[in-house]
């Protein structure tokens, strides 16, 4: 029997394939399209203290092999999540990871406490890295702030914490180290690369927000590099790798680079069942190469002349 399960802190995943925050809504629409119970975990859209309308439109545009988005964290707020989304999701037998976003340490702690008290998630993903909101990056570029935030959260909740880092930094290692020292159970990387697009004919930006976050296959090389760097530096910390994962082979690449789990984002827009396709592809790969335990793949990439 193929062993697919992995652990992030105390969180058990039946397989390493989860969804990427912001690309799966709150699971409600997806539940009628795919079997949520087959996923390793469902990661929901970033949730904030108050309801947010997000950025003005247009807030999405295409780029070569990529997608620029400036959604700006539109969500119904924590009350709505706890009263409406969580009860729905709890009908399924799949771990729920809530992605939290706030303006201050207080906001995050408040959100974590609410979720914990309500039993409305099995783990928390701490989004310190959204490029599409003002001050969305203060934490993600500053190791001291990151430490302070994760430390406060660590004290506020027993839920496993996964800190989601920004790729828009000179090095992710100082931020990763700060999160680890403060007690994060895992790292999620990468969030989107900051970019923009211009309509030459109109001589205007294509996004109302001017800049947006780049996702999709275009960023896969950068994401793989960062996962590998983080895994080299911190081999014991579980990493949720993401950035352009479209099929099982992409997932294997992230595992080889050092990810313990992977998340499927933009690919879900292209193929609503992409996350399950990734899982099927991973299993097919393991079958083909006679790999019994998915954990054998983690960090197993070798140099070309090794």
């Amino acid at each position: 029997m193929t062993h697919l399960s992995v652990k992030i802190g105390t969180l058990d995943l039946r397989n390493p394939v989860m969804t990427a925050s912001g690309t799966f809504g709150f699971g409600v629409e997806m539940a009628s399209i795919i079997d949520l119970n087959r996923l390793g975990a469902v990661v929901v859209k970033s949730t904030s203290r108050e309801m947010r309308l997000g950025n003005p439109t247009p807030r999405i545009t295409e780029t070569p092999s990529g997608l620029l988005n400036a959604i700006g964290l539109q969500n119904g707020g924590i009350d709505n999540y706890i009263s409406e989304k969580a009860p729905f999701l709890r009908h399924f037998n799949v771990p729920i990871i809530v992605n939290l976003v706030g303006y201050s340490v207080d906001d995050y702690v408040y959100l974590a406490q609410r979720i914990t008290a309500a039993g409305a998630a099995d783990a928390l993903e701490i989004n310190i890295s959204c490029p599409n909101v003002k001050h969305g990056c203060d934490f993600s570029v500053d190791p001291l702030l990151t430490f302070e935030l994760i430390d406060a959260l660590r004290k506020a909740t027993p839920l496993p914490l996964i800190t989601k880092l920004s790729p828009n930094v000179t090095s992710i290692l100082p931020i990763a180290r700060a999160a680890i020292e403060a007690g994060t159970d895992g790292l999620a990387l990468i969030n989107t690369l900051l970019g923009t697009a211009i309509d030459a004919r109109k001589r205007r930006f294509k996004l109302a927000n001017v800049t947006g976050g780049l996702s999709g296959p275009a960023i896969k090389p950068v994401a793989l590099r960062m996962v590998w760097q983080a895994h080299q530096a911190f081999p014991d910390i579980p990493i949720v790798g993401m950035g352009g994962i479209t099929n099982g082979i992409d997932a294997v690449e992230f595992l080889l680079a050092g990810a313990t789990a992977v998340a499927v984002g933009t690919a879900t827009f292209v193929n609503p069942a992409a996350s399950l396709g990734v899982l099927d592809g991973l299993e097919a790969y393991m079958d083909e190469y006679g790999i019994d335990d998915v954990r054998e793949l983690i960090g197993a990439v070798k140099a070309i002349d090794d």
């Binding site: 912001g22 690309t23 799966f24 809504g25 409600v28 629409e29 997806m30 009628s32 399209i33 859209k45 309308l53 997000g54 439109t57 247009p58 807030r59 999405i60 545009t61 295409e62 070569p64 092999s65 990529g66 997608l67 988005n69 959604i71 539109q74 999709g216 296959p217 933009t266 879900t268 827009f269 292209v270 193929n271 609503p272 069942a273």
Partner: protein, 262 residues
């Protein structure tokens, strides 16, 4: 919601007017489910650098033959890819999409007025067809606008369907010289229900005219539809309720009164 991901076989693909083509494919389950206002999200090709699907209204859907057709304007990566398809090729579709489609006004004896421009015409042709299948054949007027005669879509087909076609062209080369609103203004009356799909400016003007006359008007909005299934929040439109709703799920068809135009 029941969303299908279909690898459909193309059975026909032909030009209807300059740069506009109709692609017909075999997709029985989709043909069964499709209602006027529904759309499908088409993938250019797995290997294309343009990765997003693009939305196309369903133009024809016949549950008996299992055929589904879309009428598209060839302009970018997806539609160029569609134009290259030949009978026997496959086309990758997700659909039917749209949480709110055209709702035929249920009042007996109501006069259904379609107002369409460009690739806004096909979903209204579909609607007219469905309405025409009612036991009591209803009164349908179809106002089609275009820049000039050679840009008017679906003329022969509409004539055959027995609807009252009212073309308008900006250059006067066919029908009324002017805009669709010039024709609509003559028709608006209490027993009228308007269904509109076309360029933003057209829908805005038609909507405003209907609101002013107290006539119900349903508009099918165009927005980028990265996912089409409600999970990306890329397609939102502002409504007069002060909220931002998804055009793919709460639309694409909206009551004109609810729309905040940009």
């Amino acid at each position: 919601m029941s969303v299908l991901h279909i690898d459909a076989q193309v059975v026909d693909n032909r030009e209807v007017i300059k740069d506009h083509r109709v692609i017909t494919c075999l997709a029985p389950d989709l043909a069964e489910l499709a209602r006027p206002g529904h759309f499908v999200n088409v993938l250019a090709s797995e290997a294309a650098s343009s990765i997003l699907r693009k939305p196309f209204s369903i133009y024809h859907a016949d549950p008996h033959t299992g055929l589904v057709a879309m009428l598209y304007q060839v302009k970018g990566p997806t539609t160029v890819g569609m134009a290259h398809k030949r009978a026997g090729d496959r086309i990758d579709l997700v659909g039917p999409l749209g949480g709110n489609v055209f709702e035929p006004d249920p009042r007996p004896g109501v006069h259904h007025v379609m107002v369409g421009g460009g690739y806004g015409v096909p979903p209204l042709v579909f609607l007219s067809k469905v309405l025409g299948q009612a036991a009591q054949t209803p009164q349908i007027t179809f106002i089609v606008g275009a820049r000039s005669k050679d840009r008017l879509l679906c003329q022969d087909e509409l004539a055959e369907m027995g609807v009252n076609v009212r073309p308008s062209t900006e250059d006067g080369s066919h029908g009324v010289k002017g805009r669709v609103t010039d024709v609509l203004s003559e028709i608006l009356a209490d027993d009228v229900a308007v269904y509109c799909c076309g360029p933003d400016a057209m829908m805005r003007a038609v909507g405003a005219m209907c609101i002013a006359s107290g006539v119900d008007c349903q508009v099918s909005l165009e927005a980028p539809m990265p996912c089409g299934i409600g999970v990306c929040m890329g397609c939102v439109v502002d409504t007069t309720d002060g909220i931002r709703v998804r055009a793919c799920c709460e639309g694409p068809v909206f009551d004109a009164r609810k729309v905040v135009w940009k």
